[in-house]
Every structure is written in structure tokens, then in C-alpha cells.
């Protein structure tokens, strides 16, 4: 699997995701600077976490307008898989690759903590290593992760199986106690219609080694390698 990780001014988890990809594939992904309109052909494009452009204006809004995102949109339309994590989720949402928006956390504070996620489907190139209904533990670290979409969009997402992950309690209950930010329907991550674009707030890249947060996030990267190699 050949991957590219985008780097915007203010990105800061690009190293973490590159490290996770390298751990699983044995190969360092290409780091692509935001100003580059073109980059090598890859099997996967990762939009990493951070504070692109300082998150000024609105999280992800400025990055969504950068030259590299025009190219990402073009490739996504051709079916190249795109993974947006945290600020990357905000960016791909602002770029229109995924519906809905990410609002300020309901408690108005930044939150960094392990959370539990229920995997909604194993039928995607991202989640094929997990079982539907499986509960995994990965961290979140954000101030604007409160997913929202209008009722019609939400119904479409639910009906078409576009919900990838939901926040849950350790025993898998989808309820407020497991929701770190107030996201509607406990949504932590969603697919586009073709399930070739995944956006999620949690950080699977920070859960790939036993001593450093556990290994529950590793399946996501292994699954992509299996699907894309």
C-alpha cells in the first residue's frame, strides 16, 4: 500500500499517522506539502490531525481551499481512498467529501481521553479487520468533534450504512455516558456513499502499540493494507 499524508501549516499528527502506517506496512508514506497541487499516484490519501492554519476562521475551512485539496477532491472522485482523522475529518467535511459538520464540543472544552467505539460495519476497506458490533478503545483529542447533520442527511447516513463508528460505553451501549463531545447519534466516524472516504474524530494512529495506548487502532491500518495492496 502506497500512502500519502498531507501536511498543512499547523498539522501536528502527521508524524503519528506516518509512524502507524510505517509500523504496519514497513514503508514510510510520502509527506505531501499543502502547496503542492500534484503528487505521486498513491493507494491512500491521509488528511491528518492538527490545527491547520491555526484552526482560525473555522476548523478545516482554510485547508479545504488549499491547492492540494483540489487534487484530493479530484482523486476521491476517481475512487482513491481518503482517510481524514480529527482535523482531517473537519477538512474533508469542509471540502464537501463528507456531509455534516463538526461543532464545538458540547462541554466547550478540549478533551483528550481514551474512548470506546462501536464498529458499525466490517464491510469497508477501512474496517474489514473488525467485526460489526465490536467495541474498540482508542483516544480522542479535540475541541470541535461534535458531529452534526440535519435530519434528512442523518437519515440518509443511517439508512445507507454510512456510519463507521459510534461512541459507546466500555460494554458497547450507545448512550450519553460514552459520548465525549455531544455528537448526534453518538457518531464518531462516517463514510461517503461509496465507502471510499472515511472521516473520524478519534485517533486510531495513537493505539497501535501495546505500551503506548494499546493496539485497538491497528486493525484500521491492517485492514487498509489488506484491501489496498
Amino acid at each position: 500500500m502506497k500512502a500519502a499524508v498531507l501536511v498543512f501549516p499547523g498539522s501536528n499528527r502527521e508524524g503519528d499517522v506516518a509512524q502507524a502506517i510505517e509500523l504496519v506496512t514497513g514503508r514510510r508514506p510520502a509527506m505531501v506539502w499543502h502547496g503542492d497541487g500534484d503528487f505521486d499516484k498513491v493507494d491512500l490519501i491521509v488528511v491528518p490531525g492538527g490545527f491547520s492554519y491555526g484552526d482560525y476562521l473555522r476548523c478545516g475551512a482554510m485547508a479545504a481551499q488549499s491547492p492540494v485539496m483540489a487534487e484530493v477532491k479530484k482523486r476521491a472522485a476517481q475512487g482513491v481512498p481518503v482517510l481524514g482523522i480529527c482535523n482531517g475529518f473537519q477538512i474533508v467535511t469542509e471540502a464537501g467529501l463528507l456531509p455534516g459538520t463538526l461543532m464545538r464540543n458540547s462541554h466547550l472544552k478540549f478533551v483528550c481521553s481514551d474512548v470506546h467505539l462501536k464498529v458499525e460495519t466490517s464491510q469497508s476497506l477501512f474496517t474489514n479487520r473488525y467485526q460489526a458490533g465490536q467495541v474498540i478503545k482508542v483516544p480522542v483529542a479535540h475541541a470541535e468533534g461534535n458531529y452534526f447533520a440535519d435530519a434528512d442527511t442523518l437519515k440518509r447516513l443511517e439508512d445507507r450504512g454510512q456510519i463507521a463508528f459510534r461512541y459507546c460505553t466500555p460494554d458497547g451501549a450507545i448512550e450519553a455516558a460514552g459520548n465525549p463531545n455531544g455528537s448526534i447519534n453518538n457518531i464518531a466516524g462516517i463514510f461517503n456513499e461509496t465507502k471510499t472516504v472515511l472521516g473520524l474524530m478519534p485517533h486510531p494512529e495513537n493505539a497501535v502499540e501495546p505500551m503506548f495506548g494499546g493496539t485497538d487502532g491497528k486493525g484500521l491500518f491492517e485492514g487498509m493494507v489488506e484491501a489496498l495492496s
Binding site: 501549516p9 499528527r13 478540549f110
Partner: protein, 747 residues
């Protein structure tokens, strides 16, 4: 500009006021200090010159009251690459790598404007570390707030925590540890001490000393605005009721720009273009340019009109004294300007050549071709005021007789009260607002161990343990003991993870040094720290002094915060304090006499802050610690926790909560006062969980270390036979609830 021109006396700017005694006083210069200035200059200074003297001779920049005492601290060891005097301390951590670290206060600004004050404190200390070539890998902070019932405390906690998180999170550096205390002595003067640890190749450290006559002086980063003018002078006076009108002297931070600055500086540092580099911190362009020239024994010409400016109409005085954030001053090798400019332009940062080095040993400031300031550099350093202020040591209070302190009537209630008290309650409300996981190297998270433990990037299996410690109530009661204890506890906390403690950064927060009893506290703390650092081979490599922490004459508790760093060769051999399985033997290492003087038990349950603090026997400390570390790296320990605030029972409760497993203890025979045994704060002790208690005790006996098995892990309660039986769920509720409940309740 030619040398001949440099000797011209400066011109006066239009509208420049005459220097009057009042203006001198407003600059914080005492009359005798102004006399010194006149002697050095041989004439009346211009406003910008007066401003420069004022900043450079402020307590904050000159250490004029503390220097004579700081010299008493040990600063050398074979692993020390750079001790105090640079932007940060540097130690060798093996494999060609160095750890670079420092702790610094931002107390006054954080009280006036908590979000920006704390945020720029974090930004400043990170700059100190990456200026030297290191990529920061961890942040810590030590916070002291006033009485929770004081009307301002909630607002200050909220702002400071948000500010620290806002800056550190955006920078992408994990905030992995720290401490938070509350005490009425901080009501009008909170403490915000921030520490950064970075990693650099040991042969690629960057220093501030300028070299090379004619080399260009380059300004990079943000533009200069009018914020923070006189910050260093403000930090060097006491607070009064007008303090909040000083808000314009607090700087405003932009962590996004600092992130760009970090990446751009590290990119430039990978080339061979840099001769010297210095961040613009307190006293901004003044102290950075001055220190670079002074350390290099050179002179400097600064063309102030070339400084990138945020506002129109700024004058030389404002430019020299602004404390705008996210700026660096660099001396480049000749001909490397374009290479450097390209890097900073890529990162969309300002870049300007604003001067050059000379051999005149003078600082010459020009403004549109006119010389507006011309100061000889060496005398400003050598003739700087230095005070041996009178000092009176605090005498050791009488020892408190533990037998006369009542035992709890209800043991369960006593532990619940302590675990839910402001100082001991969980601080997860705070550290969950800090990204403590970014970089993917955090092995021991907050509340899971005595020190934070972070894998060293590029360092194989190596880990860095770090902690910040001080028990201000001990220092208040007896500064020498308190100073000794702060160092010993930091050393112990590093040890409890299995890491070898290597070096210290100190952040000395005290009241007005012109009062002999305050200067005595400072002197006493230094004596105690010095003894402990010597005995534990734990040199001080960097630090910061913050004096005048008083409001309307009421001083804070003396607070010499100790930040410490240690190394573990194989991170897989480290342990945290989490009790994760049943059937482990619980062994208490170290001697327990039941010391209740100045204990949390005495304060929280009996409302008394009395007696002598627990004595620290440094030889015992070292013996016990070396033994414990050996057992940990020998993989004979499952979990380890040092005993500090609240003693044995509080440590046990913390281990149980962290791991989600209960425990049952039985007191040894012959314990006369169980409450003193369980809540006493005797030093040099650890609680260890191990698969083989007998073997551990045998090894301890052989090493001459007192050790006794007290019980086993297991169950879902904390039990002390015959005294206490408390479900973990109740304990967790009390421990976790206090801070969020407090923060969410209306003022």
C-alpha cells in the same frame, strides 16, 4: 554604518521626554542604580537607553537578589552538557542524544490575564528549548491557586488550564504531567510554572553566543507589536490593587505561528547556516540582542527601522521593549541569508536582516539613519547591581507529638475526605484538557505513575521520566527541610518508574526579597536543595527565579518547584503505579515512624498547619531508592508508588483507583498509633506490588533497607483490617468528583 558613526552620541527623537527622577522610578530603577547607569554612560541616557537598563537590571533578567545564592547549587556531572546560563539545560542521555529542558514561571501575567498569561508561559518555555536545537517532546506544569472558596479562584483555574491546553495542544507537544495545589496564600498571586523537555542530537546543540564580526543579525517569526512592553519590570514588583490595570503588559500568544516557527527553525538548524540563535522572551529584542553580543564578547548594530512591525507609528523604545511572542534572533554565517529567507518564507513567517555584529562591544541602535542608542555592553553586565540582601533563616518548629493528634472517629470517612480534598482529588478535569497522547510516545499517563514516561523518539527502547514537585507547606514550615524534600521527592518519583534520575531544573517562586525573612526562606531552600542535589548526584542544569510574589504585603508560600528528568534504558522494564491484578504482595519499603507534623491529614481533618515537616535523610533516601530501582529494572516489581502527601493509605488508594483493583492491608504488630502509621508522611518510602513478597523482602534485608509485607491486592474495596473497608466505587466518586463539581458550580 561605520565605526566612526557608532561613536556619535545619540540623537533625541521628536517628543522624547526629559529624563526625570519620576521617569527613572517608573522604570523600576532605584536611585543608586541610576547613579551606576550614569557612571557607565557618562551622560544622561535617552529614553530607549533608560528602558534597556531598566529591563536588563530588572530582577527578572538580572537575578540581582538571587545570584549569590544560586551559585551554591551543584551544576556539574559527567552527563551535564550545559548547565545554567543558556536558554535551557542540556544533559547527555546516551546514543548520541541530549535532553534539553527548563522550567519557567509566568505567575504575574497569569493572574492578570489567565488564558494569555499561561499560554504565553508555555510558548516561551517551548521556545527556550527549541532555540537550542531540540524538538520538544513533552510539557509539564506546576500550578498553585488560592483557596477554592476565594471568588477569583475558579476563573483563574479555568483560564490557566484552557491557556496551557490551547497553546500546547496546537503546538502538538504532549502535556504529560504536573501538579496542582490550592492554598489561601496564593489568593492574590497564583503560580504558573511551565516545563518543556526536548530531544536533540548531542552534537547539534545551538547556543546564544554571537561570533563573527560583520555577520548578519536576523529577525524571524511574528511582527513586533506594542504588547508586553515592560513585562520584565512588572514581574519584578509586588502586586497591589492597581495590578489589573497592567493588563496591556501581558503578551498575547499565537501557537499557530509558534508551530510554524518551530518547524522553520528546525529546518534551518539542519543546515550549517546558524552561528547563534536566541529567542526573544522577557525584555524581547533588548535581552536577546544584548545577551548574544555579551556572550560573544562583541558589539552589535541594530537598525530598528528594519524590524517587522505590526502597527504603524512604533518608536525605538517600544521596539526594544516589546514582548511580542513567537520571535527569534539569529546570527547567520555570511552569505546564508537567502537560504534562510527561503525557509522562513515557505513557513510564511517574517524574515528581516536587522543589523550586524561589530567588534566595538557596544550596542548601537539606529533609526532611519540616526543613532538613537549607544550603550557599552560589558559594564552593563559586570557593573550590574548584585545584592547580598539581609536574610533571617526560619527556625525549625518543634516536632509535633503524633500521639496527641486525634485518630479518626470514622476511618472510611477520613479516607474519603482526604481523597476528595482539593490537593489530593483527581486532576483529570485539568489533564484531560491537555493532549497528553500526541506523538504516540506516552507510556505512563497522568495519574498512572509517579512520573510521566515518554519514549525517546529515535532512541530505540529508551524512555525519559519526568516530574515536577514541591511541597510548599513543608518549605514554609522549614525552608531547608522543604528544599531538601522537594528535590528528594522529584528523585523518588523518577525512581518509582525504574528510571535513573539525572538532573533538575528549578523554578524558585518567593515573595519580596527585600524582607529578611523572605530572603531567609530563599537562602534556606537553596541550602536544602543544594544538599539534596549533591547527595543524590542530581545537578541543577537550568532554572528561573520569580520574586515579589506578594499582594499587598502578603507573600505566597515559598515554592521552589523542582522539575526533574531521568532515563530508563529499556522502557519495557518500567512500571507505573496501577494495581492491575489480584494476589500481588504489597510491600512497604522504608521506615515508618508516623510523622504527622505538616501532614495533609493534620490540615484537612483537623484544620491545623503545625509542627516540623518530616525530616529527609538523604543517605537513606538514596539507599532505598537505589534498591527500588534495581528491583524494578530487574523485573521483580509489578507496580510502585512513592509515599508522599497523605502517606501510606492515600498512596494505596491511588494505586487501587489507577488499576481498578482493591487491596487488603493488615497493620504490623506493635503499631501504637494507626492513624500516624497510615497517614504519616515519613520520607524515603515506596509501596511496591510484587508477585513474590518474600523474595523482595529478602533482597531488601540484604541491602539494609527496611521492608515489610502489609497485604495483598484483590477485591473491589480498600480494606485495612479492623479499621477501614471502602468500596473502590465510593472512593473513585469522591476522588473524581471534587474538581468538576467545583468548576461547574456557580461562583
Amino acid at each position: 554604518m561605520t565605526i566612526a558613526q557608532e561613536k556619535n552620541p545619540p540623537v533625541k527623537l521628536p517628543n522624547e521626554p526629559a529624563i526625570t527622577p519620576q521617569i527613572v522610578a517608573e522604570h523600576g530603577l532605584a536611585p543608586d542604580e541610576y547613579e551606576r547607569l550614569l557612571k557607565i554612560m557618562g551622560r544622561t541616557p535617552t529614553m530607549v537607553e533608560l528602558g534597556i537598563f531598566s529591563a536588563m537590571w530588572s530582577e527578572h533578567c538580572s537575578y540581582k537578589s538571587s545570584k549569590v545564592w544560586l551559585k551554591k547549587l551543584p551544576t556539574k556531572a559527567p552527563w551535564v552538557i550545559q548547565g545554567p546560563g543558556e536558554n535551557a539545560g542540556v544533559i547527555d542521555i546516551g546514543d548520541g542524544q541530549a535532553a534539553i529542558f527548563k522550567m519557567e514561571s509566568h505567575n504575574h501575567p497569569s493572574y492578570i490575564e489567565p488564558y494569555q498569561g499561561a499560554a504565553t508561559g508555555v510558548g516561551g518555555i517551548m521556545r527556550d528549548v527549541f532555540t537550542m536545537g531540540a524538538r520538544p517532546v513533552a510539557n509539564l506544569n506546576a500550578l498553585r491557586f488560592g483557596d477554592p472558596n476565594h471568588p477569583k479562584t475558579r476563573h483563574l483555574v479555568s483560564g490557566v488550564v484552557a491557556g496551557i491546553g490551547g497553546y500546547g495542544n496546537c503546538m502538538g507537544i504532549p502535556t504529560v504531567g504536573g501538579e496542582t495545589n490550592f492554598h489561601p496564600a496564593y489568593n492574590g498571586n497564583i503560580l504558573v510554572n511551565a516545563m518543556t523537555v526536548g530531544i536533540a542530537p548531542a552534537d547539534r546543540i545551538f547556543y546564544a553566543a554571537a561570533a563573527g564580526v560583520g555577520n548578519p543579525l536576523v529577525y524571524v517569526g511574528s511582527k513586533t507589536g506594542r504588547d508586553g512592553i515592560h513585562g520584565a519590570t512588572m514581574s519584578s514588583t509586588e502586586f497591589n490593587e492597581d495590578s489589573e490595570s497592567k493588563r496591556p503588559t501581558v503578551q498575547v500568544g499565537d501557537p499557530f505561528v509558534e508551530k510554524l516557527l518551530l518547524e522553520a527553525c528546525l529546518e534551518l538548524m539542519a543546515t550549517d547556516a546558524i552561528v547563534a540563535i536566541q529567542d526573544m522572551g522577557a525584555a524581547g529584542l533588548t535581552s536577546s540582542s544584548f545577551e548574544m553580543a555579551a556572550k560573544g564578547g562583541l558589539g552589535v548594530v541594530v537598525e530598528l527601522d528594519k524590524v517587522p512591525m505590526r502597527e504603524t507609528g512604533m518608536n525605538p523604545y517600544e521596539l526594544m521593549l516589546s514582548e511580542s511572542q513567537e520571535r527569534m534572533l539569529i546570527v547567520l554565517k555570511p552569505g546564508r541569508e537567502e537560504l534562510a529567507r527561503k525557509i522562513f518564507e515557505k513557513w510564511e513567517l517574517d524574515f528581516a536582516v536587522i543589523g550586524h555584529l561589530t567588534d566595538t562591544e557596544r550596542m548601537v541602535l539606529s533609526w532611519h539613519g540616526d543613532i538613537v542608542g549607544n550603550i557599552p555592553i560589558p559594564p552593563l553586565v559586570t557593573e550590574a547591581p548584585m545584592y547580598e540582601r539581609p536574610w533571617t533563616l526560619t527556625s525549625l518548629p518543634a516536632e509535633l507529638d503524633a500521639a496527641k493528634v486525634p485518630a479518626p472517629k470514622d476511618w472510611n470517612a477520613s479516607l474519603l475526605t482526604l481523597m476528595g480534598s482539593p490537593d489530593l482529588a483527581s486532576k483529570s478535569w485539568i489533564w484531560k484538557q491537555y493532549d497528553h497522547l500526541i506523538m504516540g510516545n506516552t507510556a505512563i499517563r497522568p495519574q498512572d505513575g509517579d512520573a510521566a514516561l515518554v519514549r525517546v523518539p529515535g532512541g530505540g527502547h529508551k524512555g525519559l521520566a519526568m516530574t515536577s514537585d514541591c511541597t510548599p507547606r513543608y518549605v514554609q514550615a522549614h525552608p531547608e527541610t522543604g528544599g531538601r524534600q522537594a528535590v528528594a521527592e522529584a528523585w523518588r518519583n523518577i525512581t518509582a518508574t525504574g528510571a535513573k534520575p539525572l538532573a533538575v531544573t528549578d523554578n524558585m517562586n518567593f515573595g519580596n526579597p527585600q524582607k529578611p525573612e523572605i530572603m531567609g526562606q530563599f537562602a534556606g531552600a537553596i541550602m536544602g536543595m543544594s544538599e539534596a542535589c549533591n547527595a543524590l548526584d542530581f545537578p541543577v542544569v537550568s532554572g528561573n527565579v520569580s520574586l515579589y510574589n506578594e499582594t499587598e504585603g502578603r507573600p505566597i508560600l515559598p515554592t521552589p518547584t523542582i522539575g526533574a528528568v531521568g532515563v530508563i534504558e529499556d522502557i519495557a522494564t518500567s512500571v507505573g503505579s496501577r494495581l492491575v491484578k489480584s494476589g500481588l504482595a504489597l510491600v512497604l519499603v522504608g521506615e515508618t515512624k508516623g510523622w504527622l507534623g505538616q501532614s495533609i491529614y493534620l490540615r484537612e481533618l483537623h484544620g491545623r498547619e503545625e509542627g516540623a515537616p518530616p525530616p529527609v535523610d538523604l543517605a537513606v533516601e538514596r539507599r532505598n531508592g537505589d534498591f527500588v530501582r534495581g528491583e524494578i529494572v530487574g523485573r521483580r516489581v509489578a507496580a510502585c508508588h512513592d509515599l508522599s502527601d497523605g502517606g501510606l493509605l492515600v498512596s494505596l488508594a491511588e494505586m487501587c483507583l489507577a488499576g481498578g483493583t482493591g487491596a487488603t492491608l493488615k497493620l504490623p504488630k506493635g503499631v501504637a498509633a494507626p492513624h500516624a502509621y497510615l497517614y504519616g508522611e515519613d520520607q524515603g518510602r515506596y509501596l511496591i506490588a510484587t508477585d513474590d513478597g518474600a523474595a523482595l523482602i529478602a533482597a531488601a534485608t540484604k541491602a539494609g533497607v527496611p521492608a515489610v509485607q502489609l497485604g495483598y491486592s484483590g477485591g473491589t474495596s480498600v480494606v485495612v483490617e479492623g479499621l477501614l473497608d471502602l468500596p473502590l466505587d465510593d472512593l473513585r466518586a469522591a476522588h473524581e468528583a471534587w474538581l468538576p463539581t467545583y468548576m461547574n458550580s456557580a461562583a
